[in-house]
């Protein structure tokens, strides 16, 4: 559920002094479209995207071709550093923000990835649209007022029906249902987004039926490694 579970942790970074061609090569080599820019001490400074590079390079080249002294113009482009073109007005998330936070933030800010930083602004990872798609193949219906519960069920036929029946008996509608894998291969985590504020009787009913209601702080959308 939290950003640190889904983010890319092995991030290739550059410094403000890196030149544009080197950054372009790094992106091509690693198939990234976002390069966080960090200072030597690891603090996040900015971000540069493939689009930033594309728009910086041709413009400088076209200037260069118009320039009578081509050699000097090329030198000017080569002199351009990441620090000159990077975005410093950053939209960042913290490792303990949720995936839903990141999803909505990316949607509204029209960026493709968000750097993940700790309290000291130290880069911990990067979370991209790709990361989120992986985690949110079935997006929960969070546009409509409702509440999420997570029910742990045995991995056998008919469990979901019991849950749906119990919820239906309470007269409550589903916003969405997501069935996720759990660290215990014999179990499934069923996320029910219910269009009600009154989840208590439903939780109680499901518990009475023998289901485990998972503590919200233990919710994860991806398959979990078995706890130590």
């Amino acid at each position: 559920m939290f950003v640190n579970r889904s983010m890319t942790k092995k991030v290739i970074t550059v410094t403000p002094g890196t030149d544009l061609f080197e950054a372009k090569d790094l992106m091509a080599k690693h198939h990234f479209r976002h390069l966080p820019v960090c200072r030597e001490d690891g603090l996040l400074f900015g971000i540069v995207t493939d689009r930033d590079l594309r728009s910086a390079l041709p413009r400088e080249f076209s200037k260069a071709s118009a320039h009578p002294d081509t050699t000097k113009a090329q030198a000017d482009v080569t002199a351009l550093k990441i620090g000159d073109i990077m975005t410093t007005d950053l939209i960042k998330v913290s490792p303990m923000d949720t995936i839903q936070d990141a999803l909505l933030l990316i949607q509204r800010s029209n960026v493709g990835a968000l750097p993940v930083v700790d309290d000291q602004n130290r880069l911990e990872g990067i979370i991209s649209v790709r990361d989120l798609l992986r985690a949110f193949i079935n997006v929960l219906g969070i546009g409509e007022p409702g509440a999420l519960i997570c029910v742990l069920v045995e991995e056998k036929v008919g469990q979901l029906k019991k849950i749906v029946d119990a919820v239906t008996e309470e007269g409550v509608s589903f916003g969405s249902v997501l069935v996720a894998r759990y660290w215990d291969e014999k179990k499934r985590a069923v996320f029910c987004y219910l269009l009600t504020v009154n989840v208590r009787p439903i939780k109680k009913k499901l518990a009475d039926l023998g289901f485990t209601i998972l503590d919200p702080m233990e919710w994860y959308m991806d398959q979990l490694p078995k706890p130590d």
Binding site: Q100, P145, V197, P216, M217
Partner: protein, 316 residues
């Protein structure tokens, strides 16, 4: 000691939500019991319910919605818009009386008869949108009160503090474009709790940008986290905004013993919050506070929570 109003009326018990609902008349009885057994009634000015001029409700809600609510209610249907909103034929009238009582409290605070007031009303209001009933709420009591204070009493800046465990989506949406009303809410993080709004980056839109502030809290957090977030988010915001009156959406469902959500606030934690609200009101708002009941469903905890709440309003 402050002059504190207490809005309570047995007609607020008539909104019947059926046999399996947490938002029940016994909540108000528990609140009344806590306040009366705490020996506080003699210090309070009792305010009774009254019918408001409907134009004040129309200052927030669409007339079509109000008519629809009235019609559905008197038709005898048991739910309105969502199954959460259980009702009876008295519900519409009760909702009107709740608004009327709150506006009466507002008048008495504004004309100086009272310093502040606690309005123990049902049904609650902060989930109600301009055109939709949600989460046990039909009329947005606090939003209507804010508009009333502006239009009737010429208040320019209204500060709202909503500590119900659920985000007040209705109140936020009503004022999110409006820089004259600052809405602050602290609540369980919307990824884990109803209604799924109230994220940190929802900060108002257009002219109202910067006049909405949300402090989502992760499940299980309690007093320390509430203190940290309110000190970080609310106090500096109100210092800048300088509200002329503070309205409180007082929900007691973040209590550790309230199981409608997952927070762990203690009884003392609620007192801390209310004490800070009073202090802010003293600094910016000439002490003016109108507190309006929202949620809070543990009948064993409501008496002490209400007693402490009113004691703090009294500054006894």
């Amino acid at each position: 000691m402050n002059k504190t109003g207490f809005l309570y009326d047995i007609r607020y018990l008539l909104h019947d939500t059926g046999p399996y609902h947490p938002e029940i008349p016994e909540r108000l009885q528990a609140i009344y019991k806590g306040i009366s057994e705490g020996g506080l009634l003699e210090h309070l000015t009792l305010i009774q319910a009254s019918r408001p001029d409907m134009k004040w409700i129309e200052a927030v809600h669409d007339p079509d919605y109000i008519h629809r609510f009235e019609e559905v209610c008197y038709s005898g249907k048991k739910t309105f818009d969502y199954p959460d909103n259980q009702m009876c034929t008295e519900t519409y009238e009760t909702a009107c009386l709740a608004v009327g009582g709150i506006l009466e409290a507002a008048d008495r605070v504004m004309n100086g008869e009272l310093n502040n007031a606690f309005c123990a009303v049902r049904p609650p209001g902060h989930h109600a949108e301009t055109d939709r009933a949600l989460g046990f709420c039909y009329f947005n009591n606090v939003a209507i009160c804010a508009r009333y204070l502006q239009k009737k009493w010429g208040i320019k800046k209204v500060g709202i503090v909503d500590f119900d465990v659920h985000h007040g989506n209705g109140t936020q949406h009503i004022f999110e474009k409006d820089p004259s009303v600052f809405y602050y809410s602290i609540h369980e993080h919307p990824s884990f709790s109803y209604p799924g709004t109230g994220r940190e980056f929802e900060t108002g839109t257009g002219q109202g940008h910067g006049f909405t502030k949300n402090s989502p809290t992760l499940p299980g957090q309690g007093d320390e986290e509430y203190k940290r977030l309110m000190e970080r988010d609310l106090f500096p915001a109100f210092e800048r905004f300088e509200p002329e009156i503070i309205l409180v959406s007082a929900g007691f469902d973040a209590h550790v013993d309230d199981h409608l959500a997952d927070m762990s606030l203690t009884t003392d934690g609620f007192s801390w919050i209310m004490q800070r609200v009073i202090e802010m009101a003293e600094i910016y708002a000439d002490g003016r506070v109108i507190s309006v009941l929202e949620g809070g469903y543990n009948l064993d905890r409501l008496p002490e929570l209400a007693k402490n709440h009113v004691e703090i309003l009294l500054q006894k």
